[in-house]
């Protein structure tokens, strides 16, 4: 059920010209739950805000909203040498910034130089690109990147929004923050912190002028307020509406709804100490919980169970795997075999902010009890759990979430959370689960990343199977993000909720 189209109306282009033009011209208002932290798309925005800013700034590559495939944007081709340490990159020759200046390889170099500068230290994007050692501009539309180590995933790991070199050098970073320009489909008009971001169509966009001329993002952090604003017709796209409202609107003729997956819910298990150091105990846990009933009763059937860690829309998903069967008998048996015939006491934390976790976590308890896990539950603030994750003093089981990565879908989660090496061990969240065969496959997949995508997919499917067999964590489901989407809007809500409206239009 993952990629859901926004529209309920037909897509056959039956937009009549009979005087409805005022309607077609109207401003599109999008309610978002989070405010911008600034205009610079490279400075630590969340994936949501990056999507908002993608209306103003083009990235080096993009994602097709329908197929989720990586598609060229500013970069038209990127060829590595044999050991993936040198990349020859061609860029488009028909792109201009909003001030009319041409986008060239110099702008790409400027952007990368900024990312690699010390002031960007610690920013996520810096970590993704910091193997780059040398950036050589070969021509106006060609450049060569040289990396310190072989980095097959370099171009695809992170979105790189291209900034205007000459403009920023002229007006300075403060001037850029005041009046930012990019090369994207919309121009920046006004940002008022906590209130809104107003954009207007870039008529000279290289990809064609957007049909919707006026676009406004309104910041509405409160879920109930978002729902009310949507019902009152004040926003046309509402990110994150309450579950009750979602259900009441499912048959509404005008106010449509849609979902995207924002993350997965899973139960992190401390495999370094009893009882979850024993694979049988972990398998018992996975057999113990009746997720299908929980999903139906508490989550309105809106979520998709994950057989292992990935959802069906993610790269590396293994369609042959069946989720763990709900089987309390088997769970008790496994616990007995592992040396806990009388059951075992465990501490269980639920991290706030995971969709509906306050309802779901208590509902899990009786299932655990039935299988022999005597769990004590505490619901924790996100910040508290992360502090303790860094200190490695978490409870034996923790309900938490892991977001969808925009680009390296599937691979990144394996690399950082379930492989077992020095780097992943130092990740505040990762490194408990260890299986040498799994690590081998991950290394092979990365090595073949460019040359043989099919082999990569085969390896990740095998990794999924291993992780499931080992019961590396408690597998649960993909967390939905509930949207309100008016039916008069033709726009596709992607699973990664990229809020780009370059190709959106009003139906009537």
């Amino acid at each position: 059920m993952l990629p859901l189209a926004a529209c309920g109306g037909s897509d056959s282009g039956d937009v009549s010209d009979d005087g409805a033009s005022s309607d077609i011209d109207r401003e599109l208002v999008v309610g978002i739950t989070e405010d911008l932290t600034g205009a610079n798309p490279l400075q630590r925005p969340s994936s949501l805000i990056f999507g908002v800013l993608s209306n103003v700034f083009d990235s080096h590559v993009g994602q097709d909203p329908e197929t989720q495939e990586m598609v060229p944007q500013i970069f038209t081709s990127w060829e590595p040498n044999a050991d993936a340490t040198e990349w020859t990159i061609q860029i488009r020759d028909d792109v201009t910034f909003h001030n009319g200046e041409e986008l060239t390889a110099d702008d790409v170099k400027f952007t990368l130089d900024f990312i690699l500068s010390p002031e960007m230290g610690g920013h996520e994007i810096n970590i993704f690109w910091n193997t780059v050692q040398e950036i050589e501009v070969v021509g106006d539309y060609e450049l060569v990147l040289r990396t310190a180590t072989s980095t097959p995933g370099l171009i695809e790991t992170s979105e790189l929004a291209i900034l205007p070199k000459d403009y920023i050098e002229e007006v300075g970073w403060d001037g850029f923050d005041e009046a930012p320009i990019g090369s994207g489909p919309y121009k920046w008009v006004e940002w008022r912190a906590g209130e809104h971001l107003v954009l207007e169509a870039n008529e000279d966009y290289w990809g064609g002028a957007p049909e919707i001329k006026d676009l406004r993002f309104r910041v509405i952090t409160d879920e109930a307020a978002m729902g009310a604003s949507y019902q009152a017709g004040e926003v046309h796209v509402a990110q994150n509406i309450p579950l009750e409202l979602y259900r009441s609107l499912e048959n509404d003729p005008e106010l449509g709804v849609g979902t995207s997956s924002s993350a997965r819910h899973y139960i992190l298990l401390d495999t370094t100490r009893p009882p979850f150091d024993d694979v049988r105990v972990r398998q018992a846990l996975n057999h113990a919980i009746d997720w299908d009933t929980i999903i139906e009763e508490l989550l309105a059937g809106l979520v998709e169970r994950t057989p292992a860690i990935l959802g069906s829309a993610e790269r590396g998903f293994n369609p042959d795997l069946e989720p763990y069967e709900y089987d309390p008998e088997r769970a008790r048996e496994l616990l007995g075999e592992a040396g806990y015939p009388d059951g075992v006491d465990v501490e269980y934390w639920a991290r706030k902010g995971v969709f509906q976790i306050e309802q779901v976590a208590p509902a899990i308890l009786p299932y655990l009890e039935e299988a022999g896990f005597r769990a004590t539950l505490s619901v924790k603030e996100r910040g508290d759990v992360e502090d303790l994750a860094e200190e490695r003093t978490l409870a034996q089981m923790v309900s938490t979430n892991w977001g969808i990565n925009q680009q390296l879908i599937g691979m990144e989660i394996y690399q950082t959370r379930f492989t077992c090496n020095e780097e992943t061990m130092s990740n505040t969240w990762g490194g408990w689960y260890c299986n040498p065969r799994y690590d081998e496959l991950a290394a092979e997949a990365i090595a073949q990343w460019i040359d043989d995508p099919e082999a990569v997919d085969a390896k990740t499917r095998e990794m999924e199977a291993i992780l499931q067999e080992d019961a590396g964590v408690g597998f649960a489901y993909m967390i939905p993000r509930l949207y309100g989407l008016v039916k008069s809007l033709d726009w596709i809500l992607t699973p990664t909720q990229n809020l780009n409206f370059a190709r959106a239009r009003w139906l009537s």
Partner: protein, 309 residues
């Protein structure tokens, strides 16, 4: 006169000391709450290297006493620091939102006073009347309605069902209607009851009885003798409310998606953006203290009895 100056001077010193004490406690409390580093690295965590880089950039690698001294040093030169999350001066973030919050707060206070004073006075003049009883029940009811619940109910009825006013946001006067009503319901009950109590007390005083026995018309007695004196505690309560304006709107701003200082504070707490939390709370405390100080000084000048105690 010298005596008054001495008293005023002592009050000023006490006010400044209170403010500093508050900052010291607040600073350390916030750091007990936990580190912002993990929240800054985003949903998916990060590496130790990343955490250390952020820690160094924010100066959090230094001992807490040193961080505190740096903060106080900057504060004395009027520098409230920079937001960790937005990397902007905190003062800018607050001042650009202040007009929105003050508009909301002052209108609500005005509306509250316009409702509470007449009701309180009438209730005092005719204690036990239907108006007195009704206003008492009303006050208790209004006081027991949670702010956010009332706000959501009003939105559902007047914005979603009837469409008379916008549900959320800012821009036109219509946007102010619902939040002002909600905030005013927080002001009215207490102010009304205090007005009533103060007026009742004054009406039992000897000088009012004397005025009545002189044969003055009841209107004159009420207006000249009773009302003026009853207004002293009422004014104090209103003054305190003025000081409270900045922080009093946190919940209402969230429910109405209204971009004011309250939202800045709430968001800063969620992201552990401590420079912003510190500055917002300090400014709120400072405004409450300032209003109290001014009220105190005015009392000292006007009422000789305050000087003695």
């Amino acid at each position: 006169m010298g005596e008054i100056l001495g008293i005023v001077g002592r009050r000023v010193v006490a006010t400044v000391a209170t403010l500093f004490g508050l900052i010291i406690v607040l600073f350390h409390l916030l750091f007990l709450l936990g580190s912002p580093i993990n929240l800054m690295m985003g949903e998916d965590g990060g590496t130790q290297e990343q955490a250390d880089a952020i820690r160094e950039r924010l100066g959090l690698d230094q001992p807490i006493w040193q961080q505190f001294l740096t903060y106080m040093g900057n504060l004395l030169t009027g520098d409230l620091g920079e937001s960790w999350r937005y990397e902007r001066p905190v003062l800018d973030m607050i001042t650009e939102r202040l007009p929105a919050t003050l508009t909301l707060g002052l209108l609500a206070l005005l509306l509250g006073v316009l409702i509470a004073l007449p009701l309180g006075l009438l209730a005092a003049v005719k204690p036990g009347s239907w108006l007195d009883n009704l206003s008492r029940v009303g006050a208790v009811t209004a006081n027991s309605l949670p702010n956010f619940w009332l706000a959501i109910m009003l939105i559902i009825v007047f914005a979603v069902q009837l469409g008379w006013v916008p549900a959320t946001g800012r821009g036109t006067w219509q946007h102010l209607v619902l939040p002002v009503i909600v905030l005013a319901t927080g002001v009215v009950p207490m102010l009304m009851r205090i007005t009533r109590a103060a007026m009742l007390e004054v009406l039992n005083k000897d000088y009012v009885r004397t005025a009545r026995s002189k044969g003055l018309p009841e209107r004159t007695v009420l207006r000249r003798h009773a009302l003026r004196n009853a207004m002293i505690p009422v004014t104090t309560v209103i003054a305190l409310r003025v000081g409270d304006l900045v922080a009093g709107t946190v919940i209402v701003e969230a429910v109405f998606a209204y971009p004011g200082v309250g939202r800045v504070l709430a968001e800063a707490m969620a992201f552990r953006d401590y420079p912003v939390v510190l500055a917002t709370v300090t400014l709120t405390a400072a405004s409450v203290l300032l209003v109290t100080l001014i009220t105190d000084i005015i009392y000292t000048v006007l009422d000789p009895r305050v000087r003695i105690s």
